[in-house]
């Protein structure tokens, strides 16, 4: 292909990627080293607000931003180095906790609490998603042709449902007097409060994620199963390989690139878990790194947002994903190099 033709083909997509991925990323990267503040002054303000009968007037000193001649708040931007990272990581408190020997109090600090849960969440759901996806794929592959279509459709349903709706429907099954909780309460004759226990919420969040993502793994593996070399399988049968041995030595090695692909996607997605926190209102017990970034970015009633810390937290999340992906990427790279020779 001529270079010009190639450029015309990839040009638009490169432009979009620069505009929507590279540029925001660079901007967040820079903002994580900057702090932009309004110039503020303290002024005496008399405020009159309604009571039910009369008005209450109070005079108090308030901090208000200074406006420039166009009526916009004046701001100053400073380079602060790693200050925002230090504020997110709260290393001084971690140090104090280690010095006093109370390890558990590290997990009360927002970032570390979020990191602990996000890692557990990601690493526990990973094998379950792959295992369940593979199991469904094998089951469908061995099912009679006439019912295969229906089974595939039903298996895909959880993946089609909007994430937050899926999370909410599981929440409604368990929270308060949800159907499942009510049923369990009847059977065990006790009072169960699912949402009062951190571990129960954690389990529900993981259950939801596996339920939601397993169909994706299933579709990929099912496609892979269609290309398993039938000759190899037949010779394995002639050699007396059991069903499990055929799976272990023929099917899984054949699917390995796909398993790595699903693992990569899942690690990236699960590390950015967010809708579980919203759907299950788990903030009191469990938070994720992505939720922490969102919480910092969300303005409060007075309009303040912690953009610098949010940027730092976003960069840390990205670094975390890269670290998680390194082993898998190295393996893919090795295989790639191996096959080239």
């Amino acid at each position: 292909m001529k270079f010009r033709t190639l450029a015309w083909f990839v040009g638009p997509s490169v432009f979009m990627m620069v505009l929507f991925i590279a540029f925001p990323l660079a901007s967040v990267f820079l903002q994580s080293f900057q702090i932009t503040q309004p110039v503020v002054e303290t002024v005496e303000v008399e405020t009159c607000t309604p009571g039910f009968v009369g008005q209450t007037c109070v005079t108090e000193t308030k901090t208000t931003p200074v406006l420039d001649e166009f009526g916009n708040p004046q701001t100053t931007t400073e380079w602060v180095g790693l200050l925002s990272y230090a504020r997110v990581l709260q290393l001084d408190q971690v140090g104090a906790a280690i010095a006093s020997g109370t390890w558990s109090s590290i997990l009360a600090i927002d970032f570390w609490k979020a990191l602990r849960f996000t890692l557990t969440f990601t690493l526990v759901t990973l094998p379950l998603v792959i295992g369940l996806g593979l199991a469904i794929a094998l089951a469908v592959n061995n099912a009679a042709r006439s019912i295969r279509g229906q089974i595939i459709f039903v298996s895909l349903l959880p993946f089609i449902i909007t994430p937050v709706i899926g999370a909410l429907s599981i929440r409604w099954l368990f929270y308060g007097d949800g159907i499942v909780t009510a049923l369990l309460e009847d059977m065990l004759a006790t009072d169960i409060s699912v949402a009062a226990n951190g571990w129960a919420i954690e389990l529900l969040m993981m259950f939801y994620r596996v339920w939601h993502v397993a169909p994706f793994a299933f579709v990929i593996f099912y496609a892979g199963l269609q290309t398993v070399n039938q000759d190899t399988l037949e010779s394995a049968i002639i050699d007396g390989a059991s069903r499990f041995e055929r799976l272990r030595y023929v099917v899984v090695p054949h699917l390995m690139p796909l398993i790595i692909f699903v693992a990569l996607i899942h690690l990236m997605d699960a590390y950015r878990a967010f809708e579980e926190v919203v759907g299950f209102s788990s903030q009191a017990h469990r938070i994720t790194l992505q939720w922490l970034t969102y919480d910092l970015l969300e303005p409060d009633d007075a309009g303040n947002r912690a953009i610098s810390r949010a940027s730092a937290s976003a960069m840390l999340t990205m670094i975390g994903i890269v670290i998680l992906l390194i082993p898998l990427l190295r393996r893919t790279w090795r295989d790639h190099k191996g096959s080239a020779h």
Partner: protein, 407 residues
């Protein structure tokens, strides 16, 4: 819900432009857009505004995220903003709303003096209703058990113990203690009730004090009588607990009162009554805060648009609207007849000493977030009270430094 409201508002405004201005005193020719919260009172007001024609009302519970940026645009994306004393702060700070004195002189003859929100003598907003969290209780249960309506939180706990013993409801007490904004607001109420102040000189936090310890202690004692899932319980959850007869008492928003008597939803119609918010300590103010909701007019619009917007808003805030929607809020507008459930809010607001208005300051915004994020650890048992208050102050200081409020 939002889409439906929008469609309805659009349909109403279309109908109105078709010449059905029967209920509006004038025919509005200028397009007027409003952005407000989505609760019943705003629905009533924006529907009344739409009768004038050319009104596009957006009712959105996420309005507070959108409002500051939308009003800072030039021209502003909305003409009328629905605000409360919590959410007016960024608009005031950034100077994106205009003084209303001239417009009030020209078109605001029907406004009562106590509706005008004045900042340094200039009217910046017009209030339409007040709101507060106060004690709602099941009058029938209190009568059956021969209990007095408590006026202090210690009294509430005693009553809760008696109700628990009688076993007439699932949980004696409900509370809006969902982690985040709600939990922080419940702490605010109790903290102010114990005479606390959030920040001192130089904007430094003063939460790690005796009042803070007492507030946490009281809240922890309350949780003994509550649904153990209280950390996911917001206003709607408590309202439903009441409606389904699961709780007997709660410190709940006055604006939720009408729902108790809504026959379509409630199993306890006529059985819930309201009283003043209980005192946290003798001689103190009721442990709650006073809120107002009202309208502001954007600054970055032409004077003609501002005038049209204000006239439309006045139509929305008139006596006719109040008469039609009397029970939807504690209105400040003339023609309002307080009903049974409004008495609690009125008693709260007129108590002596009276509870504070929720402070509309940047510091309070940061403090509210810090409280909402750090308090849950106390209730899940991860931190004790002292460590929690310390963590709140640290979180606040970090945020205030980043926002440039303290050095």
């Amino acid at each position: 819900m939002k889409l439906k409201t929008l469609l309805m508002a659009g349909a109403v405004s279309l109908l109105a432009t078709a010449g059905a201005q029967a209920d509006c005193a004038f025919e509005n020719e200028v397009t007027v857009k409003s952005l407000s919260a989505g609760f019943e009172a705003w629905k009533a007001v924006t529907d009344a505004m739409a009768e004038c024609g050319n009104v596009e009302a957006e009712l959105d519970q996420e309005f507070r995220t959108k409002q500051p940026a939308a009003f800072a645009a030039n021209p502003s994306l909305y003409h009328i903003g629905g605000v409360s004393n919590g959410t007016v702060t960024p608009l005031l700070n950034e100077g994106t709303i205009r003084p209303l004195d001239d417009l009030i002189a020209a078109h605001g003859q029907n406004l009562a003096p106590n509706q005008l929100i004045k900042i340094n003598g200039e009217t910046m907003a017009v209030a339409m209703m007040v709101n507060t969290q106060h004690l709602m209780y099941r009058e029938d249960i209190f009568d059956d058990l021969g209990l007095e309506v408590p006026s202090t939180w210690d009294g509430v706990l005693e009553a809760a113990a008696a109700i628990k013993e009688a076993g007439v409801v699932d949980y004696p007490l409900g509370a809006t203690m969902k982690s985040g904004w709600n939990l922080a607001q419940d702490f605010n109420n109790m903290f102010l009730g114990f005479g606390g102040q959030f920040t001192g000189a130089d904007s430094m936090p003063t939460v790690n004090t005796e009042a803070g310890m007492k507030a946490l202690d009281m809240m922890m004692r309350m949780t003994e009588y509550m649904d153990p899932e209280y950390l996911v319980s917001d206003s709607t959850y408590v309202q439903q607990q009441f409606q389904q007869g699961k709780i007997a008492m709660a410190n709940l928003w006055a604006s939720r009162g009408a729902a108790m008597d809504d026959e379509a939803e409630s199993q306890v119609v006529g059985k819930v009554n309201a009283a003043a918010a209980p005192l946290a300590m003798e001689g103190g103010a009721p442990a709650t805060t006073l809120w107002w909701d009202g309208i502001v007019i954007a600054k970055n619009i032409s004077d003609e648009e501002a005038e049209a917007a204000f006239r439309v808003a006045m139509e929305g805030l008139d006596t006719e609207m109040v008469t039609a929607n009397n029970d939807d809020a504690i209105w400040l507008i003339s023609g309002y007849e307080p009903n049974r459930l409004a008495q609690g809010a009125i008693a709260t607001a007129s108590a002596d000493p009276a509870p504070q208005s929720y402070p509309s300051t940047s510091q309070m915004g940061l403090m509210h977030t810090a409280l909402g994020n750090e308090l849950p650890a106390f209730f899940t048992g991860e931190r004790d009270a002292a460590a929690t208050l310390e963590a709140i102050e640290e979180a606040y200081i970090t945020a205030a430094k980043e926002a440039g409020l303290i050095e």
